[in-house]
Symmetry: C2
Subunit: 229 residues, 2 copies
Amino acid sequence: MAAKAVRQPLSRERVLAAAVALADAEGVKALTMRRLAADLGVEAMSLYHHLPAKEALLDGVVETVVAEIHAAVGGNATSDRDEDWQTRLRRQFLAARQIMLRHPWVPGLLGSRRTIPVGLYAYYDGIVGTLLGAGFSHRLAHRAMHAFGSLPLGFAQEIFSPSSAGGSMEDDVAEADLAAMADALPHLTAMVATEIHDVTDPTLGWCDGQTEFEFTLDLLLGGLERLRA
Amino acid sequence: MAAKAVRQPLSRERVLAAAVALADAEGVKALTMRRLAADLGVEAMSLYHHLPAKEALLDGVVETVVAEIHAAVGGNATSDRDEDWQTRLRRQFLAARQIMLRHPWVPGLLGSRRTIPVGLYAYYDGIVGTLLGAGFSHRLAHRAMHAFGSLPLGFAQEIFSPSSAGGSMEDDVAEADLAAMADALPHLTAMVATEIHDVTDPTLGWCDGQTEFEFTLDLLLGGLERLRA
DNA sequence: ATGGTTACCTTACATTGTAAGGATGGTGGT
DNA sequence: ACCACCATCCTTACAATGTAAGGTAACCAT
């Protein structure tokens, strides 16, 4: 009875926040206009007074998360100068990863966007600034940005990420087939046998654990350091 | 009039080939059951006698491209032993990239799949075999695979790839805003000014040119070589 | 010929995004 | 106080999509 009375008017921010929450809870697949409106206690068409189309909704959602990353990373200018470029970028990328682990559907959505979130430019500008400050040439800084790929956003690869929908990644390989696989894929099975994963490691996508993320990151940082002018 | 007479029966392979061709021609967005059926001179529901659902269609399409890569890469066992591991992987990944340039919609689709294409296991097994043969430990081989990310498939990053839909990537930044951007993003604009791209460089996604692909590849290969046992 | 299997078609429905326009309640001008 | 206005939200409706259910026609071994 009081539920209707406390309903405050919608706004772009409230819609986007609800969209992020919905995607976090049930995946981006569940993020439909009708469902989102229902979560907000409203009808679907009402959303269109705050957003022009669903594409804009998704753009806004991505932008929201990027802003979250940018805030978590750029907000703390703690002791700007007493850390070298590698330490700084490492800290930033790992902070981004913490955000991503709370929004595991973002990589997939990010890949489908047609326009680049505006906030991302500012974030990238900071990274380039760090590189230039460390003595990188424009050319090397440019290539470093490419080499980083999606690392600045906190994830390494999004191929086969079962984030967006259910899918346990285990049950598609039956026990019986495993023996048959062993001689068709000798090297892979040997490697997996040696390198069985701690599934406790928080995972983003296909086997993208904290350990592998940091390994890749340090491999690139170390390689770039050696190329630095 | 004779068009109907020459119509040979459908098959999973014919459907998948037509799907790949359609995606190549008009993007994965145009790949609907009705449209695909029309291209095959058939009604939509007829496709379901060869594929159980659209998800299976997409899985099959991805699998087809992976098979194409595997064939282009694994088929030529030319002089298996007289090239070192770096040369071999470099050649393979670059060959994969040639395939990808013909199917620029694959990265986006690949990221959305829930199941891993079966052919990919075989391809990856070969890569692991190369690493192990070069003296890599299982652990280092494992991490190398993670570090490679999507490089074995011929692309570096798929963030903001405008492949799936139209979008010229230039026209969203008006000339007027460019001056305003310059002081908001000093480092980025300086870098872009120095590093203006040859747009002639075949591009896969956001600024992922051949040069950057090879740079990232060599950075990783060189870094791994130094870690090799 | 005949019963059955296979390949394709027709129809229909649920779900999605969204166009078009209606109701309603608060606000500022007079 | 009144009234025109406008932002906000709702109702209805439509097109496009994936696909369930069942129909039809050609072929094939018996």
